[in-house]
């Protein structure tokens, strides 16, 4: 294998678990992003693997469907020589009624060093983290947090924009139910960006903007004004059941007010980035021409996801050693 020495020192990572971005310091964020740069370099090699995590067992425990997050963690672990075991709720003893606590204890007994967990219920990774000595990485929990998504998002933004201090980021869509919006908000705040959360009145939080100590966050229902001069526009996935539960009148109505289309994008700063955490509903959150257009970094987000997750696993495993 290629050079195993990776420059950032995992010893400066002090956390047992990575559950959200809200308590990450600027230094911790910088450490992850700097490590991710080294990992991106590894990924660019002809032989894009190292053996740093040989002997480390990573279990991905997914109670909810996922394509990119699960695959991305698996590729990340394997790229560093970890043994990666993938478990999904369907087809495991979870279907037989096993509790989360028992499942996590079982994985610890089997020898899991790091458990990457996706769950439809907010706070489930916090419970897992309390239950086990294994490191727990939140791969997305309910409407709460998705820290590695937020970290890969800011990694992608920094690649294009450099320092994010003072940069204007607009997140549009179902903010209220979005773990991606929350985790992005905390990390963007920490890095000094100005964040606007835009969406239909029924899908906007009432208190999150005020919750940030930095206070550089606002919410608005007026996406057209919010997008003026934006450096980044991130559209979120809208769950189709929001219509059935009466939160929005129709997807058509949503598109009218909140789809990121070419007319709206033209109001943003020239060269503004278009982002989406995926999976997209084609033709709903982002107009197809914009998603496939020059401003879109959606595919880069996915590629960067591997590097950022390598960084996270590397730092967590360092804590394990």
């Amino acid at each position: 294998m290629a050079d195993d020495t990776l420059s950032p020192d995992p010893g400066s990572w002090r956390r047992k678990d990575l559950l959200d971005t809200d308590t990450l310091s600027r230094e911790e964020i910088a450490l992850v992003l700097k490590t991710a740069e080294a990992m991106a370099e590894v990924r660019s090699r002809p032989m894009p693997k190292v053996a740093t995590l040989r002997g480390v067992t990573v279990v991905t425990l997914f109670y909810e469907q996922s394509t990119r997050t699960r695959a991305s963690f698996e590729v990340a672990g394997k790229a560093m020589g970890a043994d990666v075991v993938n478990l999904t709720a369907s087809g495991s003893s979870v279907e037989k009624g096993e509790s989360l606590v028992d499942t996590v204890r079982t994985l610890e007994a089997i020898g899991a060093d790091i458990i990457v967990m996706r769950h439809s219920k907010s706070g489930a990774p916090a419970l897992a983290a309390r239950t086990t000595k294994a490191r727990v990485v939140n791969g997305g929990d309910g409407q709460h947090a998705h820290p590695t998504q937020a970290l890969l998002d800011v990694f992608t933004m920094q690649q294009h924009l450099g320092d994010l201090a003072g940069k204007r980021v607009v997140i549009v869509g179902d903010i209220l139910h979005s773990r991606v919006a929350r985790s992005n908000l905390w990390v963007l705040m920490a890095l000094g960006a100005d964040v606007t959360l835009a969406g239909p009145a029924t899908l906007l939080p009432q208190t999150l903007a005020g919750a940030s100590e930095a206070g550089r966050c606002r919410t608005t229902t007026d996406f057209d004004s919010a997008i003026e001069g934006a450096d980044v526009v991130m559209a979120l996935r809208i769950q189709k059941e929001r219509q059935a539960t009466g939160l929005i009148p129709s997807l058509r109505d949503y598109i009218r007010g909140y789809q990121l289309n070419e007319t709206r994008l033209a109001r943003a700063k020239p060269g503004a980035l278009v982002m989406h955490p995926g999976p997209k509903n084609e033709g709903i959150e982002v107009a197809p021409s914009v998603a496939a257009g020059a401003a879109s970094v959606i595919d880069e987000q996915v590629a960067n996801g591997v590097a950022v997750r390598m960084a996270v696993l590397y730092l967590m495993a360092g804590r394990a050693a």
Binding site: S99, G142, L176, P205, T207
Partner: protein, 440 residues
Amino acid sequence: MSELLIRGGRVLVPARGIDALLDVRARDGVVTEIGAALEPAGGRVIDAEGCIVTAGFVDLHAHLREPGFEQKGTIATETEAALRGGFTTICAMPNTEPAPDSAPVLEALVERLARDARVRVFPIGSVTRRRAGKELSEIAELAAGGCVAISDDGNPVADGRLMRNALALASAAGMVLSEHCDDPELNDGGVINEGRVSERLGLAGQPAAAEVAAIARNIALCDATGARLHIAHVTTARGIELVAGAKARGLPVTCEVTPSHLFLTEDAVAGPGPEPAYDTNARVNPPLRTEMDRLALVHALNEGTIDAIATDHAPHAIEDKLCEFDYAAPGIACFETAAGTLLTQVARGELQLSRVIEALTSGPVLAWGLDSREKGLGSIEPGGVADIVVLEPGREWTVDAAAMASKGKNTPLQGATLTGRVRVVVVGGEVRWESEESDG
């Protein structure tokens, strides 16, 4: 039979205007004498110097879990917990399996209570069959069988027409209807108060408006029928405002508040640490609310708007709480911490002692007319039943769930230091519980 003398305590009986250092004598289960420097007459003498002596507490809202959910609690374990908490009379909510919705189920429950209960227990019947909110229970029969009230407990009676009829029938049968005021559609799967904490933690919220709207509807139905309405566990500032307004108009409305909602806020779910704890022991329905709501309840208790402090004691098994927050059963095991949190709030100067004692004793008795069932309940008066509690107001102690008598160890107060505890509990003239001797 037995004689008992409780000497030197601060006897506090707000309903009778008594607040003085006095002695209380009980004989053969009833209070015989209240006075200064009473002489021992051969029976047990309890030195209550430095303590508060009051009537046994009366709880309008408790869950004993039996029959049907004995893994969470039984009549024996939960009435023992009540006893240790100073509650000598409790009203048992009907969310059992089966629910007391008819005479045969009620009779079986009354038999079990007679056999196992460590304190007085009055059953509450269900408003509707199986608490399903569709057809009324046989209300008059439940009254005849000993129910003091009817309630569908955690299932609010959603159908306004059914509620109106239930109110009228219950009142005619001499019972109160105790209603969990809540709009299930507005709540829509919510698991904590909607607001700052729910948004931060990504948990579905229960808006205050769901409680306020239901209180408003039920007060309107009380107005329409003239029937007695009891509003269970009010938790919102706007809700208690509506109750105060209804009372000012002379409507026969009473209400209760829980010690948990007086003491804690939604922040208990997140916990004290930097990362949210998602403490399932702080999940309760109705949810812990904001500090603004909590202060409104404190104010309303001190003002006299709140008739009763009711525990909503709700024991759960370990597995009901050791799980994802959304899956956790709502409820707090409250009997054994209630006096502690309330006296702590008195010590902080937040709550008035006399109002707390009133809301634990004569307030609930008056609200539901319970003195017609047992003379002197909620009071200390000559000729009345000798249910008496001795409290040590200054005593500090630490909550230890494992040491609680309740099967439910589900308290969000685990490890908290409280000021004030229950020292002696007398039921029917007999000392039934004493905490280990105080060294003070």
